[in-house]
């Protein structure tokens, strides 16, 4: 019980710290590795919130597949370190936006999260699978994702293809 609390808060702290690392690093490789750490600690939080299936998917799909794709492209293009931050107009606008968003979200979470029902039921992965395959509400969205992935596959090949005679 007490271990649960330590693990959850530790994962939350690691997620926030490595999230900050993602945007404070100049070298994209460092950002990518910090993002992998963020995703793994978010997977710990998912598991502690009782959705083990999503936690496993987070590790396999996000930390495994998507981030490897990112690292592949970073190393393929030999992405250099950035020189200097974008501290002109748009960078400053971003920081102001961040402060406003942070204040707003603290207010929303503070007000909204108090009224939430306290539920401690863990969901088994069979429940998620049953919801995905047997619930008629999710039938068409689930089929639509297959078309989305097919379209993304074709689009990625067309965009990244080397044109002949060039």
């Amino acid at each position: 019980m007490i271990l649960d609390v330590i693990l959850f808060y530790g994962a939350a702290l690691v997620a926030l710290a490595s999230g900050l690392f993602v945007i404070s690093q100049r070298n994209p490789i460092n950002s990518a590795f910090s993002l992998i750490i963020t995703m793994c600690s978010l997977a710990v939080m998912f598991a502690m919130l009782g959705s083990g299936f999503i936690a496993v998917l987070q590790i396999v799909v996000y930390a495994g597949a998507i981030m490897v794709l990112f690292l592949f492209v970073i190393m393929l293009l030999n992405a250099k370190q950035e020189e200097g931050d974008r501290m002109g107009g748009i960078g400053r606008a971003g920081i102001i936006l961040g402060i406003v968003l942070a204040v707003q979200s603290v207010m929303v979470v503070w007000q909204g999260a108090r009224g939430l029902p306290a539920n401690h039921r863990d969901t088994a992965s069979i429940d998620v699978a049953r919801g995905l395959f047997a619930d008629p509400r999710f039938l068409y969205p689930f089929e639509a994702t297959s078309i989305l992935i097919l379209a993304a596959l074709v689009g990625a090949i067309v965009v990244a293809r080397k044109e002949k005679g060039k």
């Binding site: 502690m48 992405a79 919801g131």
Partner: protein, 115 residues
């Protein structure tokens, strides 16, 4: 009440509020990602900040799914995963095409459509 019991009680109440902590972490991760999109120059880092925001939203979905005791939130997370995978594939293809044609990854240099 001795110190140990009060400490345990504190942690017991803290345990009841996992959902609130998750929502707060989700909000802050989203803000970090949003700031990163504006502050970073490299296209690949900007895309990683978008992934960070998607992850923050996933955490909120899972937290609400926990609070309401339904699995709808987790199924939505599944859909976000597919959309994120598709987005990463197409986005990185665009990055490779940009590098091939412009030999530059700085977002400020892509201003062909700027009025």
């Amino acid at each position: 009440m001795d110190g140990y019991t009060s400490t345990m009680n504190f942690f017991a109440t803290a345990h009841a509020s996992f959902v609130q902590v998750a929502l707060a972490v989700s909000a802050f991760l989203f803000v970090i990602g949003a700031v990163g999109v504006f502050v970073r120059r490299n296209v690949i880092t900007v895309m990683m900040c978008v992934e960070l925001m998607l992850n923050a939203v996933n955490l909120a979905f899972v937290a609400f799914s926990r609070a309401h005791g339904t699995i709808d939130g987790q199924i939505l997370v599944f859909f976000v995963f597919t959309v994120a995978a598709a987005e990463a594939a197409v986005g990185l293809a665009i990055v490779i095409a940009l590098q091939r044609n412009r030999e530059d990854l700085d977002v400020d240099s892509f201003n062909l459509l700027k009025g």
